[in-house]
């Protein structure tokens, strides 16, 4: 991952809220005093197809708004995983939601059943995208947890801040457990305030 | 995806109508489940429909007619359809 520029791609299917997640991530980057550009691809005009959000975070100026060499990739559907993983850096971070991604293209992937865990915990998958943010935060540290929490509170519908923050924390927790297995090493549990 | 690759998930025995669900096409809207007059259908944990009580099926075809995704199929065994009054 380059020092100054991080390219993140969140991919899944229509209703999973990944665009919102991308926006929150981007806003968090601003709260962290970074430069950021966020973009998304739409499928055909209608709903339900594959969905993709990209976030480029940098210290300096960002020109080209699309990811060209992805540092962090989150796949929340098999189709998205197959379709959008072609330009991940070798040393890039690969996170998959094993609820929907059954064929994982690399053994180095951080594999977490994000959606099913969310459903178990909160009764519905609605918060999977925020849980995913918790995961990303924990796995990559590209934006601070503090900034992410602020961005979440700012963007989610009024009245749902608390439960969303819980979802975020839940994601962090999931990630920590997974990383333990994944890396065989314990990750720090404290928030990476900057 | 072509039809051929869509594997039917469940079929009934020859006594009651044969219910087939093309789960690749099913979008889990729940319409078939909700409007089945005999509560034949249910949603599994992956939110895909399956025939929970196929033996209760009266072949009214309401699930078939209302499935927006052409994902459910009811084949009666040598019987005429029994179309329910709708309104």
């Amino acid at each position: 991952m380059s020092q100054t520029t991080t390219e993140i791609r969140l991919a899944g299917s229509g209703g999973q809220g990944l665009i919102t997640a991308g926006i929150i991530l981007a806003e968090a980057a601003i709260f962290d005093n970074k430069n950021v550009v966020q973009s998304q691809s739409y499928g055909p005009e209608a709903r339900g197809g594959a969905s993709r959000a990209e976030i480029i975070i940098a210290d300096g100026p960002i020109f080209f708004p699309k990811a060209t060499w992805v540092d962090i990739f989150l796949a929340m559907s098999q189709k998205a995983c197959d379709q959008y993983s072609f330009d991940i850096k070798n040393e890039g971070i690969f996170i998959v939601d094993t609820t929907y991604v059954k064929q994982i293209p690399t053994s180095s992937a951080v594999a977490i059943p994000i959606s099913s865990a969310t459903r178990e915990k909160f009764g519905k998958e609605l918060f999977s995208n925020i849980v995913a943010l918790g995961v990303i935060c924990e796995v990559c540290k590209v934006v601070s947890a503090k900034a992410l929490k602020a961005a979440i509170s700012n963007r989610v519908p009024a009245g749902t801040e608390k439960i969303n923050l819980e979802a975020f924390a839940f994601g962090q927790k999931l990630a920590k457990e997974a990383l333990k297995n994944h890396n065989g090493a314990e990750n720090e549990a404290i928030e990476a305030d900057t | 995806m072509t039809k051929k690759s869509t594997l039917p998930t469940e079929t009934g025995s020859s006594e009651h109508p044969e219910i087939t669900i093309f789960s690749d096409w099913c979008k889990s809207c729940g319409i078939c489940v909700a409007f089945c007059p005999k509560e034949v259908l249910a949603m599994d944990e992956n939110r895909k429909v399956f025939a929970k009580s196929p033996q209760n099926c009266i072949a009214c075809h309401m699930c078939e007619l209302r499935c927006p995704d052409f994902a459910i199929n009811v084949k009666e065994v040598e019987k005429q359809p029994n179309l329910e009054e709708e309104s």
């Binding site: 229509g14 055909p44 005009e45 209608a46 709903r47 339900g48 197809g49 | 995806m1 072509t2 039809k3 087939t20 690749d24 096409w25 979008k27 889990s28 809207c29 729940g30 319409i31 909700a34 409007f35 075809h61 309401m62 078939e64 007619l65 209302r66 499935c67 927006p68 995704d69 052409f70 994902a71 459910i72 199929n73 009811v74 084949k75 359809p81 179309l83 709708e86 309104s87």
Partner: protein, 281 residues
């Protein structure tokens, strides 16, 4: 009755098109399926059917089915269909159009097709909103309801499509909902058999936009609502207006016989040719 498998086998295009693009629970697929059942029941030849649409979620219907299919521009399905029908009067021309496509940008073509009484069957998928563009109000959005361009409530009054097309000259007007699938098949059959311009308005649901912003619940909830508000014309005729408030009358609302456009044009051709022969003699 033809089963879904048979339907798919017989009427769907067998390449890379499924599952279709519509959202989970969307009524468009229901209407499409029952339209196909109606066509099947009439035993029409697929080669003789032209299925024409405009732009919108509804407009995506033709690509899936194995007819002569024409996906035109937003609001213009009817004049495309008019040209096609006049060029090929022997074909059955069926138009699928959303409420916006039919009555917003396409309103003028709709009333003129009615006036001409050209033998086209128009199915209006009325989901009270612009689905494809993400939920802006349409000319059929109920007064007071919300959409993403009227979050404080719609101040415009909706068209009553049936009244409008009748006043414009349509000779067959039917209405039903996506819940009432058998009635839907029935009305579409009659509409196709009717010689002249026929309109079938199908009240349907867009859970993704209209449903969400107006808190109408799931597709299932919205279908339940359709079931509740619908009153068959035969029953409604016996009810008093008070009782009918908030209800939607369904059935064949109007049918009349008037000369059809293409047939009349044939008489013009005859007359013109007679005159010409008269001249050249």
């Amino acid at each position: 009755m033809i089963s879904n498998s048979q339907l798919v086998n017989k009427y769907f295009r067998h390449n890379k098109k499924f599952p279709h693009i519509w959202c989970p629970g969307c009524g468009i697929g229901i209407i499409l399926g029952n339209m196909l059942r109606a066509i099947d029941a009439l035993a029409l030849d697929k080669n003789d059917i032209a299925f024409v649409s405009g732009i919108g979620c509804t407009g995506r219907a033709p690509v899936y089915v194995d007819f002569n299919t024409l996906h035109t521009t937003h609001g213009r399905a009817l004049p495309f269909a008019t040209g096609l029908k006049l060029a090929r009067p022997e074909m059955k021309v069926i138009v699928a159009t959303g409420d916006g496509d039919a009555t917003a940008i396409g309103g003028n073509h709709l009333i003129h097709a009615c006036r001409r009484n050209i033998d086209i069957t128009t199915i209006i998928f009325n989901n009270y909103i612009y689905g494809m563009t993400g939920g802006q109000y349409s000319p059929t959005t109920p007064h007071g309801d919300k959409a993403y361009t009227c979050k404080l409530g719609n101040i415009e009054r909706p068209f009553n499509i049936s009244q409008l097309v009748e006043a414009a000259g349509a000779t067959f007007v039917g209405r039903t909902t996506s819940y009432h699938t058998l009635q839907l098949q029935n009305i579409i059959k009659k509409a196709i058999l009717h010689k002249g311009f026929s309109v079938v308005e199908v009240i349907t649901h867009c859970p993704t936009t209209y449903g969400r912003i107006n808190k109408k619940g799931s597709a299932v909830d919205m279908l339940r609502w359709q079931k509740e508000v619908a009153v068959d014309k035969s029953r409604a005729d016996k009810m008093d207006p008070k009782e009918l408030e908030g209800k939607i009358i369904t059935g064949v609302l109007m049918e009349r016989e008037l000369p059809e456009f293409c047939e009349q044009y044939d008489t013009i051709i005859e007359e013109a040719q007679n005159q010409q022969q008269g001249k050249s003699k």
